[in-house]
Amino acid sequence: MEKPGPFKEPGLPRPNKNEVTMDVIIQAIINGILTGSYYGLAALGLTLVFGVIKVINFAHGSLLMVGMFAAYWIVMLTGWHPYAALILVVPMLFIFGYALQGIVIKPILEAQRDVREPTEVIIVTTGVWYILDNLALMSFGAQYRVVQTSMSGQIFMLGDYIFPKAQTYGLITTIVTSGLLLWFLKYTKMGKSIRAASLDRDAASLMGINQYRVYNIAFGIGAAIAGIVGCVLIPFYYVFPSVGVVFDVKCFIIVVLGGLGSIPGALIGGLIIGLIESLFAQYMASTWTELIVYVVFLAVLFIRPAGLFGEKRDW
């Protein structure tokens, strides 16, 4: 379970660890925001699935991995720009998520109707995770892959500060995707059905909403977003079978931090984690920042388990 991270570390060269100047801090903040934006995007699908279906999907990281590999292969085979590949990746992942929910998760929910949050689902999605990750390992091998695009290594400059192109496009994508998602949930019929089902499963089904169809769609959307993340990441992130694991744990932390089921929460949570990693990295090795993130996570769980924007329940 390595975490090699992105293969390009944007930032100003720092000759001396003691020289943490204002410039360095600002660049670190910029990096943190850029990183945090794709963390948040990655966590979006997880929080949606949890908010609606009330299940923790331990296979989320694997969905991200699938999204990344899908984007990778499409780009490799067609030579398209990663963002163009969205056209194929998003529907593919949506269908994949829809099917996964229908085949694997739905039977458990049906069998455990009265249990609000069956642990069996956690277990089953963990099984899915193991299967997906290792099927990828068997099919593609463990090597780290890289895709050269027109964006590789390109940067924007704003004053003295570096904005790598690919990550900046990622930030824009995050904003656009979240906006679309919020619009969808608020104004479309299916979106409203999803929100209704998330508030009260049974009441919603009494209103004629096909509970399971809603779940399938919510899960499909979650997977589709994972596909978007895949396209966003491949210009600057290594692709390999266990890449999902890094994101899995991180996404859980973000989602808990922001509040399970809250979309703004996922985005802000992502930003917070991105900033923590980026800022603390100026003062210590990245392996220690990992620990800080875990400590923050545990602190949130103990102090305010509902997270920043979550509903206060008897968690």
């Binding site: 379970m1 392996t287 620990l291 103990f302």
Partner: protein, 344 residues
């Protein structure tokens, strides 16, 4: 009365025969490879039985138990290397430390809902691993970070070996882990028959109802957590002494924690035989696919694990122990020639 006592007699005889076989196995099966496989099998069975005390009885899903294995291994080894303390004593120290750590983590987290508890144990387990990987020394103790620790070889007279918990051949290890396993099974069986056992199972199933019946559910969950962590640490010491080497990515890994949980769940959490059965069924699968297939298809055994997990959860969520028990009862019926009154 006669017919059912005949059944009981056959049941007891079968169990004695099984125990006899298991205890005398090394006498007629001397291949060290197979002995090693069995040792690992019992090792996992022991660990899953300890895990079951929290994951089965308390009804929560701990996914970070490898941390306690690691605490056991590191504590006893570090004390041995620095002060020459016999690992047997170090084992108990490790157990106590693991219990305390388990309580510290448990008290705030056991109040949380199922998924949150699972996540927090994961985060904690990974946190411990990262911490150890980044630590070279704690005071006088060599931790050695990511490279792990090699237990110094100190083989001498049989008495010395016993003191140092190090043996030249596999036989003593076989019996040590077997005895540990029997102790764990006994503790599980005993606890399930006394009040705390009833209370913790009730608290796991319906916490509100249990509370209304006078049970401080959180307190009992914490008790069982401490007990489980204490016993789990013993396995860490055993592992250290068996292999004479361990390192964070192995003994403190998320994979390891998950494997323990998986095995117990597939076997049947909350039962006495479940975790053992899970280990007996899954470990060989894992081992054989790793030995024979991993060169060709790395990760296949994990795919199989995952598949089995999904299938069992879909069709036998209470674990394989249920159909196996029915099968066993069927055999008993055939042998004793009568039908047992079937529980509704």
């Amino acid at each position: 009365m006669n017919a059912s006592s005949k059944r009981k007699t056959i049941d007891t005889i079968l169990k004695i025969v099984l125990a006899g076989v298991v205890f005398t196995l090394p006498l007629w099966m001397t291949s060290p490879t197979y002995l090693q496989i069995l040792i690992l099998l019992f090792f996992y069975a022991y660990l899953t039985t300890c895990w079951n005390l929290v994951g089965g009885f308390a009804g929560v899903l701990p996914l970070g138990h490898s941390a306690y294995v690691g605490i056991g291994a590191y504590t006893s080894t570090v004390l041995f290397m620095t002060y020459g303390l016999s690992p047997w004593l170090g084992m108990f120290v490790g157990g106590i430390i693991a219990a305390i750590v388990g309580l510290i983590i448990g008290i705030p987290t056991l109040k949380l809902r199922g998924a949150y508890f699972a996540l927090s144990t994961m985060a904690f387990g990974e946190g411990v691993r990262v911490l150890v990987e980044n630590t070279m020394k704690i005071g006088p103790f060599e931790i050695n970070g990511p490279r792990g620790i090699s237990v110094p070889l100190k083989v001498g007279t049989p008495m010395e070996n016993l003191f140092n918990y190090q043996f030249v051949d596999k036989l003593p290890y076989y019996y040590i882990i077997l005895i540990l396993l029997c102790i764990a099974i006994f503790i599980t069986w005993f606890v399930s028959r006394i009040r705390p056992g009833y209370y913790i199972i009730a608290g796991g199933e319906e916490p509100e109802a249990a509370q209304a019946l006078g049970i401080n559910v959180a307190r009992y969950k914490e008790m069982f957590m401490a007990l489980s962590c204490f016993l789990t640490a013993f396995a860490g010491t055993f592992y250290a002494q068996l292999n004479l080497y361990f390192f964070p990515k192995g003994i403190l890994s998320l994979d390891f924690s998950f494997e323990l949980a998986f095995i117990a769940l597939i076997g049947g959490r909350g039962t006495i035989a479940g975790p053992v059965i899970g280990a007996l069924l899954l470990r060989p699968v894992g081992e054989f696919s790793r030995i024979y297939l991993s060169a060709v298809l790395p990760g296949l055994h994990l795919v199989i694990y995952g598949l089995v997990l999904i299938l069992v959860m879909l069709f036998q969520p209470r674990g394989l122990v249920e159909p196996l028990t029915r099968f066993y009862n069927w055999i008993l019926d055939k042998l004793s020639g009568e039908r047992k009154e079937v529980k509704a």
